[in-house]
């Protein structure tokens, strides 16, 4: 049965306030929400610093040891600390994005957000900003410790560091956006993807060794991934003192495509979640 509806007399709508398609106020409201959360929990802050510090120490000592051996091995070892810190930028960039998203699922707050005027692109932007903040909280102290312990100054890479950072963050965000879409659609069952997906890139993007080491067919795959260009560029900068702008531009071009595809995938996952009713499940 249904209850028929009459609609002849239109109700006079109250004056509608201007609702911009993109509101920085809503973006910063979400950033503020994640900042409150981070501030309220010292284990969360510690977690941001702990693992990058452990990594930096381990690879720093390995670099020292390899450096004492001399020859080609010593030359290769000169990039370990730079590589591990740039890898952390990539990994933490994605994780910072995905964890903030996961926080909404853990606290069963996603429905509240999705029935609020918050738009998907505002949500995504706030998660990107938060990933930079989380990365800064973790990496700035670690980069200072690297100077103190091993004499490795990441900041001395100058403009190169900016180019590496931009490209690595774009890749991290693209993967984070895609994973968040998967989480929206499949709930916390897909949580492991958030933690592990980036490790697929670890061997393929040649973090610790040059691309030429890979077999030919894998090199093709490696060159389709933007971080490969960054790590090759880092080796060129650290070993040969040459900034490879060509590599950075190629990485940027691929990143733009990946980022757009990730956004489209996220929106499609959101649409699909609405179709399948998975948003009602509260993330489970």
């Amino acid at each position: 049965m249904s209850v028929p509806v009459q609609t002849q007399s239109r109700r006079v709508e109250p004056a509608i306030r201007f609702h911009p398609a993109f509101s920085w106020a809503r973006v910063f409201a979400m950033v503020q929400r994640y900042w409150y959360l981070l501030r309220s929990s010292w284990p969360r802050v510690l977690d941001l610093i702990y693992w990058p510090t452990v990594q930096m120490c381990m690879w720093g000592f390995l670099q020292m040891y390899v450096g004492q051996q001399g020859g080609v091995v010593a030359r290769a070892g000169q990039t370990f600390l730079g590589a591990v810190m740039l890898w952390d930028m990539l990994f933490r960039g994605q994780l910072g994005f995905s964890i903030s998203f996961l926080e909404e699922m853990y606290s069963r707050n996603l429905s509240n957000l999705l029935i609020s005027p918050l738009r998907p692109m505002e949500f995504v932007t706030s998660l990107m900003i938060m990933s930079v903040i989380r990365l800064a909280v973790g990496m700035v102290p670690v980069s200072i410790l690297a100077i103190l312990f091993f004499g490795f100054n990441l900041w001395a890479l100058g403009f190169g560091l900016v180019a590496f950072f931009v490209n690595l963050m774009l890749t991290g965000w693209a993967v984070g956006i895609f994973v968040s879409g998967l989480l929206l659609r499949n709930g916390l069952g897909a949580e492991n993807m958030a933690w592990s997906i980036m490790f697929l890139l670890l061997p393929l993007t040649c973090v610790y060794y040059p691309v030429s080491v890979l077999p030919g067919w894998l090199q093709t795959i490696a060159w389709s991934l933007p971080p490969t260009y960054v790590f090759e560029g880092m080796r060129a900068l650290l070993l040969d003192h040459v900034f490879r702008a060509d590599l950075m531009l190629q990485a940027l071009a691929i990143n733009m495509v990946l980022f757009m595809l990730a956004i489209l995938a996220f929106l499609e996952f959101l649409k699909s979640s609405r179709r399948h009713g998975s948003l009602l499940a509260g993330g489970e």
């Binding site: 007399s9 109700r11 409201a29 606290s107 179709r275 009602l280």
Partner: protein
Amino acid sequence: MTAGGLCSRVALATCRRMSAAPALAVRDLTKIYKTGTAVAGISFALEPGTVTGLLGGNGAGKTTTIAMIMGLVAPTSGTVEVLGRQMPRDRYHLLHRMNFESPYVEMPHRLSIRQNLKIFGKLYGVRDIAARIAQLAEELDLADLLDRAAGKLSAGQKTRVSLAKALINSPELLLLDEPTASLDPDTADWVRGRLERFRDERRATILLASHNMAEVERMCEHVIMMKKGVIVDYDTPARLLTRYGRTNLEEVFLDVARNTGVREAAQ
């Protein structure tokens, strides 16, 4: 004649008496999942400034209906018109003017009540958020709780906080999913009183899904009864009682749930 046919006619007459266009108009709304049909072509309208109860047993389709009205679930077919605009097409214009409360949707536990309300106030574009939070804190007796973490509240306190979140933007359409579930009778009565006051002051339209028949009898001008995804009856509480020959809505609900009395009532 089926119960549905009669109820359609009664409801049609009710709708025609509306002095203004409905605050919410649902037409032929259907949601089919892979596992089955959750909502099967329902239509109804809510008069502005009224409270309508949405009743039905578990799996009747109430939550799916509310989720489609909010744009959280996409209908398979049919339309939802809220305050004269189409949902989900005009989602981001409408979401400023409506809100939702359910004890099953929580707020971030580690944030204080003040922080949570501040964030939601900003998301809804509320002007002078501090004043609005102070006003809600006074109305909902939250002043002492504002700086407490949301995760450290009792069930009754959580309901008041959820209500504050739902009222932060003074919505014209308020959707409530079992707002007094798991509350003691005193707190539940207090919450109902606040909702009625809000309806009167704001002239808001409220759709209330509830399993508490006394609550529905007290608060609702109209009742929509759902079963297995369809509307099986619609009327004022008083007329339902008369038609089913019962003394309270709980008995009517049981008649509908057990299929006793529906046909008789229709005839």
